[in-house]
């Protein structure tokens, strides 16, 4: 007699494997009307001390503040002073000018690699405006906006990108893998998502020591597939750690669309629900919404109400990196059709709408920023560009492997220096 379980197989179609497919491929016309764009100002704002479950609806909605009329709406409007808004605008515009110049520098052979964050500037700049300057950040490689908003000197960034003798990281790291303890900016890893549990650990330490500082981490939506992300979420939930998880959903992970990280089934913000963490899904191209969401999460964390996961819904307007050619896998029309616009333009228009800015001022600012970047570039180039001999001394290659140099590294350093003398006798 067949067991009951066997009957479950009867009269069913055969199994088939589902493999996600993005909506559009190269050459396709793009229609994003299926992406729900919530009305600005229409989302409720629960109290920062609420139970995580009270944020469930917000995990599927989209927190938006700036409306089509370029004005701020609803309970999430952070009511920032015009000076702060202008500073945010300037920081984002500087990031974009910097990206343009560094991208060109890579193309001109001044370095090996570069990554832009075009279109995603708000997700780092506006977010970090909502934190204290000594809250510890654990970024991925696409948050140059944090360093710029925290006033890290451009020339130091360029020295690092050129891997030259002025590079504070001694030419050891791939371009853009910055580190600045003075700016509470954790050293960036090339290995995805490793920073997530580390941010949680830092936040736990801060709680152990009864500190007032919190931690925040950023990662791409693609990287949420890594186990490290899930370990971080579990620890944060268990210890109610004062940490903010920023998932930057820019729709693409190199050539893989967000469906390969699970977006066909649910939102990234909704990952929070299963862990019992507060979750928010925000319009990542709306700087005011980003600010408001991060500020909410920061206030929540700082008052011992625990972690928050924020999905920043945005679009990667350019290639993944200088090694990538996005025209091979996605439609070039996507960028133009993206329904949430551009964060810099939106903040600019908002400032103009409230009478605090003008096209003329914006043009002048852009020119001044381009000059500032150019001057920093020229200055950094005096320290050399990659591959032209102006690097750190060979011995530095062996330092910092350990606190002290063991005998075998000392021997190897001698070897490296001897090889240099053979190659370039002088």
């Amino acid at each position: 007699m067949a067991r009951e379980g066997e009957r479950g197989r009867y009269n069913r179609p055969r199994l088939s494997l589902h493999v996600p497919e993005p909506q559009f491929r190269p050459g396709d016309t793009v229609d994003f009307s299926n992406i729900p764009v919530s009305e600005a100002g229409a989302q409720a704002r629960p109290d920062e001390a609420c139970q995580p479950i009270e944020t469930t609806a917000l995990c599927y909605d989209l927190v938006r503040v700036l409306g089509d009329d370029h004005r701020a709406h609803g309970p999430w409007d952070p009511r920032l002073a015009p000076d702060e808004l202008r500073q945010m605008l300037r920081d984002m515009a500087l990031v974009r000018a910097f990206d343009e110049r560094m991208y060109r520098g890579q193309r001109q052979g001044k370095t090996s690699f570069y990554m832009k964050c075009t279109g995603e500037e708000a997700t780092s700049v506006a977010a970090v405006h909502a934190l204290a300057s000594d809250d510890m950040v654990f970024p991925s490689y696409r948050q140059q906006g944090i360093l710029i908003a925290r006033g890290y000197p451009l020339i130091e960034m360029i020295n690092q990108i050129y891997s030259n003798r002025g590079d504070k990281l001694k030419g050891r790291q791939l371009p853009i893998m910055y580190s600045s303890r003075a700016h509470s900016f954790f050293t960036i890893s090339g290995n995805l998502a490793t920073q997530v549990p580390q941010a949680v650990g830092w936040a736990m330490a801060s709680a152990i020591r009864h500190d007032s500082r919190i931690a925040a981490t950023w990662l791409g939506e693609g990287s949420t597939a890594e186990g490290d992300f899930h370990s971080g979420m579990t620890f944060a939930a268990v210890y109610n750690a004062p940490v903010i998880f920023n998932v930057v959903n820019n729709q693409w992970a190199i050539s893989s669309f967000s469906g390969f990280a699970g977006s066909e089934r649910t939102t990234f913000a909704a990952r929070a629900i299963g862990y019992g963490i507060a979750g928010l899904r925000v319009d990542g191209n709306d700087p005011l919404a980003v600010y408001a969401a991060v500020r909410w999460a920061a206030d929540r964390a700082r008052s011992n109400n625990g972690p928050t996961l924020i999905e920043h819904f945005t679009y990667r307007a350019e290639g993944h990196s200088t090694s990538d050619d996005p025209s091979a896998y996605r439609s070039a029309r996507e960028r133009e059709e993206w329904p949430l616009g551009d964060p810099i333009m939106r903040l600019k228009q908002h400032l103009i709408a409230i009478g605090e800015w003008s096209d003329e001022q914006h043009r002048e600012m852009d020119l001044a920023l381009a000059e500032e970047v150019k001057a920093a570039t020229k200055e950094a180039e005096k320290n050399g560009i990659l591959g032209h001999g102006m690097h750190h001394p060979f011995h530095t290659m062996f330092e910092d492997v350990f606190e002290e140099l063991p005998w075998h590294l000392e021997e190897q350093a001698d070897q490296a220096i001897r090889e240099r003398q053979i190659k370039w006798p002088q």
Binding site: P20, S112, R172, Q173, L192
Partner: protein, 354 residues
Amino acid sequence: MASVIGDEEPVSLSEAPVRSLNMIEAINDALDIMLERDPDVIVMGEDVGYFGGVFRATAHLQEKHGKTRVFDTPISECGIIGVAVGMGAYGLRPVPEIQFADYIYPGLDQLISEAARLRYRSAGEFIAPMTVRSPFGGGIFGGQTHSQSPEAIFTHVSGLKTVVPSTPHDAKGLLIAAIEDNDPVIFFEPKRIYNGPFDGYYDKPTKPWKDHPDAKVPEGYYSIPLGKARVVREGQALTVLAYGTMVHVAEAVCREKGVDAEILDLRTLVPLDIEAVEKSVEKTGRCLVIHEATRTSGFGAELAALVQERCFYHLEAPVERVTGFDTPYPHSLEWAYFPGPIRTGEAIDKLLGA
């Protein structure tokens, strides 16, 4: 080496039409042939589907073989290896790609504790017939997370086979053998020689594979057995044990110095062709071991120990090792790190007592 598939006779290599391929094209060809021949073969990994891989190794395979044979995966190396173990348990023959060897570490538990041990712990009931392809090695200014050579981590694990090709011809034949093998194989592709046989002279123009004799790749199916080394050139003065990019560096240095070296391309590290090693070292009495990976506990240490254990009374000098330094791969000082012609030449001089 057990093969479960393919009853057609392999084409005799001397008769098959040949064309010049680079290493990427040869790997692509091997995958294409195995997808065609064996319905159990599955190719998957980050960006390998529609896009065809960040190095283009899987280009057009999805188009040709369909989305359920060749597909993109979530960015989770632990997941990629773990599902490959499960697919193998079902009876498929997965060929996962890990985008860079530097990113294989999140998948180590699935590889080391699981794939490598299924056969042993189930007394042969379950096996993991997977081939994990991954580009490795430096020389492309990839910094510390796009340059590592972690082969010794895998050769240290019982139950894993480790293969490193050094030419397009071998890449194709070895990859086919690896896919057909019923044990888990780590297949490291030296990315610096994907497009040309780089010989360590980074400041000279790079050569493409086109005119190299080992870029002549026969069409159709052929396999090169795992565990068999290749004599790159015969010689009497010393034996060089090399694999991957370093085969070409050793060749160039020996040619330039006019040293009558015998160069063995190991091709498979585990299982090692110990006979070929013994035969050569017994003949020459001197042995240089060379790899790009860090020195301490590198595969060179294993080779040196084996040569010392088995050929001691034939040795006329201590075994020399040429390796990368015991530091992470530095970005700007990449060429100071790389075990290039100067380091190799010095070791040869020392071995020959010059």
